[in-house]
Structures are given as structure tokens and as C-alpha cells.
Symmetry: C2
Subunit: 507 residues, 2 copies
Amino acid sequence: MTRRGRSRQDNSQVERSTAYRHLEHFLSPQSVFSEDAVEDIHLSALRLLEELGIRILLPEARNLFRGAGARVDDDTQMVRIGRDAVLAAIDAAPRRTRLRAASVDREQIFAPGRLLFSAGAGCPNCNDIKRGRRPGTLEAYIETLKLQQGFDVIHKFGPSVEAQDVPAPFRHYEMTKAQLVTGDKPMFVYSRGRRQVEECFELIRLALQLSDDDFTDGAWATTIINTNSPRQLDVPMAEGIIDFARARQMCIITPFCLAGAMAPITPAGALVLQHAEALACITLSQLARPGAPVAYGGFSSNVDMKSGAPAFGTPEHVMMTLGSGQLARRIGFPWRSSAGAASNTADMQAAGETQISLWGAMLANATLIVHGAGWLEGGLTFGFEKFINDLETLQTMAELCRAPAADEAGLAWDALAETEPGGHFFAARHTLANYRDAFYPPLVADLSNFGSWSEAGAKTSTERAVTIWENTLRNHRPPVHAAAAVDRIQPFIEERVAGGGAPPSGS
Amino acid sequence: MTRRGRSRQDNSQVERSTAYRHLEHFLSPQSVFSEDAVEDIHLSALRLLEELGIRILLPEARNLFRGAGARVDDDTQMVRIGRDAVLAAIDAAPRRTRLRAASVDREQIFAPGRLLFSAGAGCPNCNDIKRGRRPGTLEAYIETLKLQQGFDVIHKFGPSVEAQDVPAPFRHYEMTKAQLVTGDKPMFVYSRGRRQVEECFELIRLALQLSDDDFTDGAWATTIINTNSPRQLDVPMAEGIIDFARARQMCIITPFCLAGAMAPITPAGALVLQHAEALACITLSQLARPGAPVAYGGFSSNVDMKSGAPAFGTPEHVMMTLGSGQLARRIGFPWRSSAGAASNTADMQAAGETQISLWGAMLANATLIVHGAGWLEGGLTFGFEKFINDLETLQTMAELCRAPAADEAGLAWDALAETEPGGHFFAARHTLANYRDAFYPPLVADLSNFGSWSEAGAKTSTERAVTIWENTLRNHRPPVHAAAAVDRIQPFIEERVAGGGAPPSGS
């Protein structure tokens, strides 16, 4: 894991690289349930699928389950899945997937023990101090892609802001093109219907000149599969599972189980539901194509009992995240978790919610932590200043993935011996030899004293973040492949747009 | 560990107790150094004490070391301590101390595995939105004691704000009296000289009518012992170690080793120094009285390389905290760690720094986490709104100390079976039976949507905290023992004040 290294000479700055490109977890995975309890949750989920079943709205998906021996009722759309089919799917799925990217050194291995962060996603709105809160646009989406590209600790692209100004039948062209021309990280494709998904795959193949073999060697696209908890899978999501599996692209299964609302009010009960729904989706994926890349996942938290709103960073959220990690380990899968914040602005509440939920995911050794930076209002808004402040935390996590040296130089005996009692180490040879890159250089934290800080305008870290995101946007350079990629895909897009585009599937 | 229970009937609120009085760690202790590296740090510290030595400014302390076979040079004040004396002290010290308190149910066991939080401490200034930043006063100290008393997740009193308006020879009377009459939690006494310490002990004995046997059965007072890193122990601190040990009260040893300033620039090197200084102090304590209560501790972080200011919540800070936990486990001691924040205001930076450093201490299984709430500006200011926001995190940690149920009720099979696919659990019998106390009720987090939040004034959690601390101060009630305690100590205080008080020892 090479994460550090001297970069260019710059006398005004501490020379330390923040190229946190490939990370492995530094914490041993923590538990909140006993082994027996985890087994009870796992077995309850298998029983749920067998006895209560799950409603699956796509006939093709029901047929796949029927072929695997499930009891299917097409009138009620209910599918009761025997545990043999589920266990066979668990066996068939890969534990390690190579996430491909336009640049080889942006590729990631999606496997237990690895650590990937992605930005806040799925936000209909965006918000920054300069321009205020507003509905998402393509321009805002591209800006947030530039922010994601600008920091190596963001390991893959996500659908940060919804480009609401682009009509739905054409939006997937613009979202895919935007990723291809703005950066070179692993890409995201929404599962909003068969035609859209196939067109997005085609755009990636065209832009990066991938042969069929190239395209199926690892996953070039990932999608998020949300269930309609409780116990329901809609048409576009079922299509997405099938289409991604058949194209050997990656499904990240994410039931969104809010305890007390769409899930039982107890953490264990909500996890039974999450686990059952995730296993059903994993099974469908492997029925569509054995060995297709698929990740376990969950996003279970609780609702606020006063307002009924989703809460994040709560004790119950952390408990369910830790339990999710235990369930992922129970089946041996890499998995996706989330940070999250319900706060309406980039304040201490937002930081607290994001930190607590993020630490929960770290303690649970989640492979991919989504919404790691920029999420506000429970996902209704992508906050630019929050993104910058959250990055400080993600970069700190990344730094912690490397243990400090405890060799002779690390133990610093000579420095200890040469420094007088009551003295200081500022001028020790050991200090002078190491000070340039001894410490993580803060991104937005201001360490100046109260007087200096006041004289500089007494700005909060939220206010200071403005300059950082502005500079990141200003300094953005398209990746080397961008211009050629546009040339290759533009005729395809224009032809499809002229044909009316591809409307999303109804659910 | 009873932390929850129904309290009074209140139809307008979720009924759930936040009486987080006795906690045990929920995380398994994490490591950042290999076992070999920990041993190297431990052995380097022993070698440092033997070969390089430590300067000890108090002749009486040097004599105690001399008596234990140390090589003492009274001219240079250097003391070189053989490892036999250190290892004998490690053997002699207790691993478990009962922290006594005016109310029995506020008592704490200070032992490995236990978890205690205390508030931000040692702050010369205080700050709140209503009154601004200002030098500490006795009134402000009393206010912050009321805040500490008002929340059960704060387990012992600390010297939150310095009462700068009370002259130094009298300040210890007022600080001790303030604790005695404001609350009933384990108390703090500064080591600012022999006479002050003895008078504070006498005030506690008088106020609570303790016999000599009562007073030495467990520790009624704790103090913090800071070294003058590197390798120096001043007069009041050495006196404090001796006087607390002889009175069987508790010393919490806390070298403050800033890597790159008062300590080597590498985490391992800084820990060699911290460990050596802590062991020297522990040894002095046990030489003064074998078996005296003493805690290992450390507060090692790094300096900001741009400003030279102390930094907190950095990756290096977390690394040194994890290493400190390993060293405490190496010698089998309960120990004190710290959260911390350098931010000048209660913003996302402050929350991030505090959270990261707090999680570091949690991961390191620190017995006592000081500065858990309210610390700003690296300890120069106690922030009222920051205190309230930090409490949300501490209460979340406390909630996590209890595992969720995974029995039949927890697994919620009946609720899963009775709820239709695509439906919701709001009206499930299981939900109705549990909703009142299913979830932690947030203290300051606002879960309302953006519209409602905007209509309510778009207040940040920092701004919303004002009402909470105001109400806490307004609702404060003195403990039952307060009036009688004042009657018992007032004549003593008046007599001592008339005699000119007790000036602090020079260092």
C-alpha cells in the first residue's frame, strides 16, 4: 500500500503526499452481537425468505427464482426461496472483484479488508455558502465530480447530485459522459431500466475502447440496488441485478432498513430484514449469472421518534452497522456501509453524525463506505463545505491505515539523549531530518491561536471550506483520455437523443 | 451496569433514561504497534530512566529515589532510576481504585475495562454565544460545575474553568467548596503546593464528615500530575505525588508530550518519553507510600508544523493514544487519556478533532477520558455550546456500552410476519410496545426537515445549544448535602483566609 511519497519541491508547504489511493483497514473488526445471535439473525433471514417470502415485481426475476426451486405466486408476486438456493448463491459469488478505471492506478480491489470511500450520493439538491441551496443540475453534478476527482481519498465516483435539469430519458447519457470526461475513477451507473443500463455500458466501452473481454475482466461499472423494504424488490432494481450480473458488472446490494419505519424497531429485527433482502438480491444475481460480482451491503438506521425522520450517527445506527459487518463476515462477503448525517447544515451536528456513523463503518470493516463526504439532510442535499470538512476526517482515517515506525529512527534515542531536561526538540537533528513530512498536513483545520484566528475574520471551518472547493474546481484538469472519449461517444449520444432517449423503467 | 430505566411519567417525551452512570468499554482494545515494538518502547523508557535520568526539582523526592538505590546528583538535580525500583513500583501499585463521592451512586471504580468521562479542564477562559469569550471567574467555574453535574455521562468533576478572579492563595478554598456544594461527583484537587493540598483534603473531610479511615478507604480526591517534558518534574507536581500518595488519594499521571516540540517528532519516540516520565512518577508515588492509588496516563499529540501550535484529533494523536493504551496494558494499569480540539470555535473542525481524539481513546480503552466535552483552543477556553454538542457524542458512546437484544423480542419475527411487503412497521404491535424507549433521544441534534428547520430560524447545533445550557443552569438544584457542608467548612475557610491563605508552591 503506497500512500505517501515526496512529490514536487515546494518550499512554502510541508512536503507530504495525500495520495491515499489504496487502503487496508487498520482496526480489527468489532462485534455488537454474540456469535450465537449472529447465527440467529442469519437463520431468521433464511426462514423469512422460505416462509414469508419477498414480493418481486419483475416477472423475469420470478422466473429465475422459480427455476431454482422457489415457490412463486404470480398473482401476489410473492417468491418463497428455499435456503438451498440462497446458500448456493453465497457459494457462487466472488469474494474479490477488480474495480476497473480509466487509469490503472485508480483501480481498486473490492474484497474483505480493503477500504474504499465514496462521496455523498443520490442528492436531489446541492448547497454551498456562495450560491445557497438549490435543485441539482448537470453543472452541479459535474462540479461535484471535480471535487471527487480532486481528492485521492475518494476512491470511486458516485451519483452525488441529481442532474434534474436534464430530462430523465437523456440523463444517463450526461451522467456517464460527465464521469468519463471529468476523471478517471471507477464509475457508477444507475439501475433505472434495461435500456439505460445497456446504453451506459456501451458508452463506457466506446469511450475507453474496451473489447468485450476487457469489459468483463473486472467491473467497470457499479450500481446500487435498493430494496423497497420491507420484503419487496421493484422492476428497475430487479432488472439492474440481472443486467449487471449478465454483463459481469457489479451490484452493491443496499436494503435501506429504517428501524421503526420500514423495518422492525429493534436493531436485531431490522437486521433480519436487511439480511433477508440482501440475500434475496445476491441469489437473484447468481441465478442470472453464477460468479457475477456482487457486494453485500446495508444501510440500516433508526427513525427519530419525534418526527419520524431518518436518523444517522445514532447508537442504534452504529449497532446495526456493526451487526451488518458481522453478517457480512458470516457469509464471507465484502460489503458496503455508509456514513450519514441528518443535519440541515454543515455544523457540529453534521460533523458528529458523520463521524459516528463513519467510525461505525470503520469498526465494522466495511469495504466501501458510501456518503463519506458531503451528505446533508439525510441525503437530500450535497453540501460543498461539508464535503471539504468531511475530507479531513477521511484523510485522517487513511493516514491511520499505516502504522508508525518503531525502528531505531522511530524510537528516537539519540534525540532523547541530546535534548536537555526541560528543553525542546525543535532543533534536534532528528526533528530537522523529519519535520517536512512527519505529520499529516491539515486540509481545512486552522491551528492558529484565537487572536490570529479572530484577526483573520473568525471564520468557522465551514466558512473556510469555500476557498478550498473553489480552488479545487479552478485547478481541475480533465484526464488525458477526456477529449478522445468525448469524440468517441458523442455520435452515439446524439443518435440516441435524436431517437428520444431511453425512459427509466417504471417501478 | 444499570444505565437505563423508566423514570417519571411524561407523555410529551420519549421515556428513556440518560443516567449513564457506570460504563464498561464496548470495543476490544486496538493496537498500532506490534507487541515487539511495545516492548521496545517500554525497554527504551526503562533505559532512559537508568542512563539519561530525569531532573527532579524537589529535594525530598530525590531523597526518596536515593533511598531506592537511584543515582542522584543534587547539583544537577538529575535522578537516574534503576529498573528494579521501577518494576517494584509497577508491582506495588493497585490496579483498581474506588473513587468515592458524596453520593454513593456517583462512585466509580477506576480499573481496566471501565469507562469514565470528564469535561474539558484547565481552561483559563470560557466562551458562550450570549456573553462572549472572557477570562474565567469563580462564577463561570460554578456554572460549568452545574453543567457537569447536570449530565450523568460526566462521571467526575474537573477543573473546567480557572477562577482567575479569586487570588491564588484562596482559590483552592473556593474551588473545593464549589464542588462540594454544586454536586456530588468525585472531586478534583489541584497539586499547587503542600499546604493547599492538605487544606483541600481537610475541607472534604469536614464537609462530608469523614473519619480518617473513611477518607483513606478509596480516593475522595484526584489530581493530575503533569511533567515538564522532556525529563523534568517540578516542585508542586513532585509534592503532589508524595502528598496524594501519603493521604491515599489518587494521582493521575499525565505527561504532555507534544511530538516535535517537548518530545521527539516520531510517535514511538514521543511515547518513549511519555512512558519514562509516567513510570518515574508512578515510582515516586509508590516510594512515598506503597499501594497508593495511581493511574498511568498520557496526553501525547503533535504540533502543527506551520504554527508550532498543539494539534489534536490528528492521525499522529490517535496513533500515540493507541500506543499509550498498549503501554498501559503492558504494565496492567488503568489509565487516563484525552479528547481534544484546537479549533477556536464550536464548528465542524472542533467536532471533528474532538470526535477523532475521543474515538482514539475509546479504541485504546482508556479508563478515564478527560476533556470529553467543552474543550476549545487546545484548552485555553471552555465552550458552553461545545460542551452541549460534545455531550451528544459522549451519550452516544454510553449507549453503545450496552449490546442490543437478540432474543425473540429483539429478532421481531412476529412483526416481520404481520407486516405486508412494501408496508411499514409504524403500527406493528412490536413497534407500539417498544417505541417509547427504543432509541436514544437526541440532546441537541435536530432531525426536522430543511423547511421546518429554516422556519425555526435555521439555527446551527451550536446556536441551539444555548437554550440547553441555559435550562441546565436554571434547573440546577444543589445536592442534599450542600447546605450542611457549607456550614461545616465555612469557619475553616474564614479562619484560613484571615490567615492569608496558602500561596501555591513555586515550581
